[in-house]
């Protein structure tokens, strides 16, 4: 375990961890943007918007992130579009995140009690007013625990972009392993670093869930 005491290696790993966090933030930002649009499309009165969003979600949730990543990183250059590892990683993570967040957020919007929708309508609010002033503020509160929980999935899944040569935490581990030949020790340290990022997020999500009390509803435990 002498890697633990080598400052260069630990520094290199922590630098990788920083990229993991940065990529997660980018994925959450862009994925949240697209995911929000997908969620609104899923509950739109326009039929074409609903079916487009449903198709998108079904397609992405039925395909592994790794294949999406390969399709963008290796596939697009073959069509004449050049992509760097950073672009490929960000775009594929955005696609992946948007499909899952879109579904989570649609559920949150629809679990705002029906009476709230009706009351807003009775007050003669327009559709936009009803959405922005009545429904969304309440939906955000419902959506927060599962969204924080999904952040853990984002951080963990950024490890996949290591396979296209993007130097984040998992890739840094591979590079160090190439010179130390101590894979088990290196990956153990890396696992600890991932755990240190993800575990606080999991705890936060659980705490928020307990406070809002929507946990049972989300898991469909009511018979």
């Amino acid at each position: 375990m002498n890697i633990l005491f080598n400052q260069t290696y630990i520094g290199f790993l922590l630098n990788g961890a920083l990229w993991t966090i940065l990529l997660s933030a980018l994925a959450f930002f862009f994925g949240g943007f697209v995911g929000g649009a997908i969620a609104l499309m899923r509950i739109s009165p326009a039929r074409w918007a609903r079916s487009m969003a449903t198709l998108y979600i079904q397609l992405i949730q039925g395909t592994p992130l790794m294949v999406i990543l390969f399709l963008i990183y290796f596939g697009l250059p073959a069509l004449g579009v050049n992509v760097s590892p950073l672009i490929a990683a960000t775009v594929s993570m955005t696609i992946y995140v948007s499909a899952y967040l879109g579904e989570i957020w649609r559920g949150s919007i629809q679990s705002v009690p029906k009476e709230q929708w009706e009351a807003a309508e009775c007050l003669a609010l327009t559709r936009t007013q009803r959405m922005t002033q009545v429904i969304l503020p309440q939906a955000v509160r419902i959506a927060t625990p599962p969204t924080v929980g999904f952040l853990v999935q984002i951080v963990k899944n950024t490890s996949l972009v290591s396979v296209v040569g993007f130097v984040e935490l998992a890739r840094s581990a591979q590079l160090i392993n190439n010179s130390t030949f101590q894979p088990f020790a290196v990956y153990m340290i890396v696992a600890v670093i991932y755990f240190a990022i993800c575990f606080p997020l999991s705890m936060l999500s659980r705490k928020l869930e307990a406070r809002t009390g929507y946990a049972g509803k989300k898991q469909g435990l009511t018979p």
Binding site: Q61, S159, L160, F184, Y194, C198, G220
Partner: protein, 227 residues
Amino acid sequence: MNLNYSFLAQHIPKLVDGAWMTIVLSSSSIALGFIIGTLLAVARRSSFPVLRFLTAAYVEIIRNTPLLIQIFLTFFGLSMLGPRLPAALVAVIALTINTAAYSSEIVRAGFDSIKPGQWEAGEALGLSRAQVYWHVALLPAIERVYPSLSSQFVLLMLASSITSQISVEELTGVANYLQATSYRPFETYTVTALIYLALSLALRGVLWLVGRIIFPRQHRLRKAVTA
């Protein structure tokens, strides 16, 4: 841009082999992971604090680290311990370790949703703790969380693509090989994505059918309510 899918026709047997490997990997780790996960869920509710702590720690460690790292640790860890195992076996072990943690958390929520009266009724009939779990709690608990379990299993099938990184010849592994030899990555990966899509639809269908067979009561109840 000129797309050409015709070259894939000669590689259909390879793709079928890869898809079959994906099915074998995921079905065996789903079955094993579900059984171990259920046992872990029981251990998590045990009256021994040490056992509770150990299972909780296991679940948290697995759920808060990436599957890719778990697969590498299993791969290198097992090769340190003894003779080199086939990559597919290592993959099943790693995927089982992962699924067990996720299913135990879901099944535990199912056990928690069983009303105290049910446990007490079982005890009042003189059943042992194991008998109460087996005859009273297990089926209704799993029935309630069956939708969550199903989506977890579909996620696992998709995640089995990661095992291509330890050179398992499953669908993604085959696709990587085909794109490297044909220099047609776009075509290869779109077809691969479609095969995964078909596999996940098929898995959802199978899980739905299994649910119908194991839990006929729920289905009849729902029918009676809507009628």
